[in-house]
């Protein structure tokens, strides 16, 4: 069996993409996930399963969705699912693409944008343009949506064909997918062995977001070789919704995998090694029509930070700096309705790319010196970015860490807070503003807290 395990792993070492994708058996069990973020790790497999339950997609069929309660994330992401036949086996393939962020803090998910439940939009590797154009006509649908779906669908179908070629190159069994289940068992056994090697204890942690007042009450323990994430004391949503259970599960799994230093791929065997418990109506398991924008954009970062803290307490030797509680989101809309977005601290696009067709000129991108918290390992510094406005534009923004400093770990110092200004005037945490030509917008993004106590400088004794 080990040879098949190595073969599957080698296949996915060759098959790499710059978007999140997941390949599952026809029963919806994850063979491999290539996720660009932890949330996708829980939601994308769920989206595949939902699409399968509703439509049983055949090779070349295409199902579109963005509904968070069907396995999507925020409404400005795009999830596509297709299938591929290889011999007598069938595989389901899902991909996800992020579109320009829409900033919306509302009372219901339906006010956040156009919610698309699983919808068949392609057959035999051909898109149904009629349905797409009907979707595009909706008032809440973003600009050039059909073009973006078309590009993404081509990428997904190419991925499916490449997977088929590699499957054949690697000579995997095409008469049955039983080998995949053996691979899951092998992974499960191995990860459970790693779980047994860690200190067997219980960690309790309470945290609260200062801005939203959501509470996390987490008990982390090992039970029957499974890592249990028990969120039973966590609060209900406090006005802006929260995360879906799929997303919470993805964040828990990725944090456990990092803690265990698992070097293999993510597959069904790993999902079996964790158990996530949330109380009903908790902000970590919201249901329709709860809004999700805040949950996915900030709540997920907050949960991740709490998980890192809990694991750092579990085994201080494996402690990591606490990630920031959330990204800084900016959205520009020019007079023609064209939009562009900025998400800090995600990988920045090129300056020239960023300026093309936008109502601004970037005048500065720099490291925000001395902003990371001091520690044995200093926290990562934030960034400084300045825009000079060229044409009238509407700016919407949503910031985190505007009041609460990013925490240090194990006596590390705290990092610096976020500041957004227009011509020197500090802006609130969330809002919209009309920018005028000549104005300067400036963002000082938050910086991580330090890890452990900073080393003390040796005193120099003057002889």
């Amino acid at each position: 069996m080990i040879s098949t395990t190595l073969r599957i792993e080698n296949l996915f070492n060759v098959l790499k993409k710059n978007f999140s994708f997941c390949i599952s058996t026809q029963e919806g069990k994850v063979l491999h996930g290539n996720f660009s973020n932890a949330v996708d790790c829980g939601t994308l497999p769920a989206a595949i399963l939902t699409a399968h339950d509703f439509f049983h997609p055949k090779a070349g069929d295409l199902v579109l969705l963005n509904d968070p309660f069907s396995g999507g994330t925020t409404l400005d992401s795009l999830t596509l699912i297709t299938a591929i036949h290889i011999g007598s086996t069938q595989w389901l393939i899902g991909g996800r693409w992020e579109l320009t962020k829409r900033i919306s803090l509302t009372k219901s998910v339906d006010e956040e944008g156009l919610r698309i439940p699983p919808t068949p939009i392609g057959k035999d590797f051909t898109l149904n343009r009629e349905i797409l154009s009907m979707i595009e006509q909706h008032l809440l649908c973003g600009k050039a949506y059909a073009t973006k779906v078309a590009t993404a669908s081509e990428q997904l179908w190419t991925l499916a064909k490449e997977f088929k070629s590699l499957y054949e190159f690697f000579e995997l069994d095409n008469s049955s997918n039983r080998f995949a289940y053996k691979y899951f068992d092998e992974s499960e056994t191995r990860i459970k062995e790693l779980i047994q090697e860690i200190p067997q204890k219980e960690v309790r942690l309470n945290g609260r977001t200062s801005e939203q007042k959501e509470k996390i009450d987490l008990c982390l323990k090992v039970e029957r070789s499974q890592i249990v994430f028990d969120f039973l004391g966590s609060s209900e949503p406090q006005g802006h919704g929260g995360l879906t259970a799929f997303a919470t599960m993805g964040l828990c799994l990725v944090s456990a995998v990092k803690f265990l230093r698992w070097k293999g791929g993510i597959n069904e065997g790993l999902y079996r090694s964790i158990k996530v418990m949330t109380p009903s109506k908790c902000w970590l398991d919201v249901h329709y029509p709860s809004p999700v924008f805040w949950g996915f954009n900030c709540g997920s970062y907050f949960l991740n930070a709490q998980l890192v803290s809990a694991f750092s307490e579990w085994d201080p030797h494996k402690a990591r700096p606490i990630p920031l509680f959330g990204p800084q989101l900016l959205r520009f809309e020019d007079s023609k309705g064209l939009v562009s977005g900025e998400v800090f601290p995600e990988t920045p696009s090129s300056i020239e790319d960023n300026e093309a067709n936008n109502p601004f000129l970037i005048s500065k991108i720099a490291i925000r010196k001395n902003s990371g918290g001091k520690g044995e390992v200093d926290g990562a510094h934030g960034l400084v970015k300045e825009w000079k406005i060229l044409e009238p534009a509407k700016l919407s923004w949503s910031l985190t860490h505007t009041e609460q400093k990013p925490q240090g770990v194990l006596n590390g110092h705290n990092g610096s807070i976020t500041e957004l200004t227009i011509d020197g005037d500090i802006l609130p945490k969330v809002g919209t503003a009309h920018l005028k030509p000549g104005q300067t917008l400036s963002l000082l993004s938050a910086a991580e807290g330090g890890l452990r106590k900073p080393p003390q400088k040796e005193e120099v004794v003057d002889s």
């Binding site: 590699l166 190159f169 690697f170 698992w262 093309a356 000129l361 490291i367």
Partner: protein, 396 residues
């Protein structure tokens, strides 16, 4: 008439060809055992009539001869930190103290927003002189839309005696791609110059009979189709003679105990100092050990297979097999399985890279040993598999 010797300075091994009217006479030099200057000196003394053409492999050239070499980067003011922020630019490791901002700006349509003043460049020139920096790379924002500012700075720098590379001559989609190529260009210049200086210093009068030539890629541009090079020096892929992409498995990739509790091939390369176990001095198991475990290739005299070395390899394989002892008791069976799976991966990488290209040529001195493993139907295995790099250079 003076004879010509071609010296191909590779990553781990150099190949030397003595050109004559008949077949060239070739031999290989292990770079970690004998230094470049000593090897050249030997050749020059033993062949008093010969002229040597030295070709350096880019990777080795850059690694050895531009490591601590400094150059300045001129960019648009406000973006001096950009090479320390963007992940692709970080990998270039440009020292931040050598990045200088010029007060100038061109917008995305190519119009000048802030004109560049000569005095600013002149001020920076005096600063560079104080810092004793002689090489400058100029990468300004939107210089592909309007090259005037880069040209002004370049002219002033050249006039002051600096070696300059500009970004507007590079065809690219954005400043990231442009700056990456720009820095590689300047590093190659520096490395080549340093190599020349180094050899001049070491070889003294003998250097008069040496000619140092630049990158091998230029010479390969006439090639068409996919070339798979499988040599002691490395495993690479190239299409139509452009750029060499390393395969994920290399001859000295380390074999270790993987997360599956079974031997696996690691990403790290161990190199040839001390080298694979089968070369007599190494202690760590490499892919090459598995491949040549049962062979005594006449064309690779560096490799020796004897029972002592073989049992050392078997012992390591047994230790690395923590969890599958029942299925794999025999270490030879482990080695066979690992080889088969590794070549399955190499084969997939080649076919995936080749895509629709039907012409696949396999060269390199390891290639005769992998024929049965690779099983690529339309691949042509070079008949002259050894020293094909240096012979190729000699044929130019």
């Amino acid at each position: 008439m003076s004879r010509k010797i071609i010296y191909y300075y590779g990553n781990y091994f150099s190949e030397v060809a003595h050109l004559s009217e008949n077949e060239p006479l070739c031999h290989r030099v292990n770079n970690s055992r004998i230094s470049l200057e000593n090897s050249l000196q030997d050749l020059l003394i033993k062949n008093p009539e010969a002229q040597i053409e030295i070709y350096a492999d880019n990777r080795e050239l850059l690694r050895r001869f531009s490591k601590n070499e400094k150059f300045a980067l001129f960019t648009t003011a406000g973006f001096e930190d950009w090479p320390c922020i963007h992940p692709e630019l970080i990998s270039l490791r440009i020292p931040v103290e050598n990045i200088f901002g010029l007060t100038e700006r061109v917008d995305s349509k190519g119009s000048v927003v802030t004109p560049l003043q000569d005095s600013e460049v002149e001020f920076l020139i005096s600063k560079l002189n104080l810092m004793e920096l002689k090489h400058v790379a100029i990468g300004l924002i939107h210089s592909n839309k309007n090259k005037s500012h880069e040209k002004i700075a370049c002219d002033l720098l050249k006039k002051a005696g600096f070696n300059v590379q500009v970004s507007h001559v590079i065809d690219s989609k954005d400043e990231i791609e442009r700056w990456c190529s720009l820095v590689t260009l300047i590093q190659q210049d520096l490395a080549l110059e340093n190599l020349k200086k180094y050899l001049q210093e070491k070889l003294k009068d003998l250097f008069a009979r040496c000619q140092v030539l630049s990158k091998r890629e230029n010479i390969e541009k006439n090639l068409s189709g996919v070339e798979v090079y499988l040599g002691l020096d490395g495993f690479t892929l190239s299409k139509d003679g452009q750029n060499n992409f390393p395969l994920s498995i290399q001859p000295t990739s380390e074999v270790h105990s993987s997360h599956w509790g079974f031997p696996g091939i690691k990403d790290t390369e161990l190199g040839y100092e001390p080298g694979p176990i089968l070369m007599g001095r190494g202690h760590k198991l490499t892919f090459l050990d598995l491949l040549l475990l049962d062979q005594t290739p006449a064309h690779l005299p560096e490799v020796q297979t004897n029972s002592k070395l073989k049992s050392r390899i078997y012992d390591q394989l047994k230790v690395f097999n923590e969890r599958h002892k029942e299925e794999y008791r025999d270490p030879q069976k482990i080695a066979d399985m690992l080889l088969q799976e590794s070549f399955q991966k190499i084969r997939a990488e080649i076919l995936f890279f080749a895509k629709d290209s039907t012409k696949i040529k396999v060269t390199g001195n390891i290639s005769p040993h992998v024929k049965e493993f690779l099983r690529i139907e339309n691949a042509a295995f070079a008949e002259d598999f050894d020293f094909n790099r240096v012979k190729g250079l000699g044929a130019q």
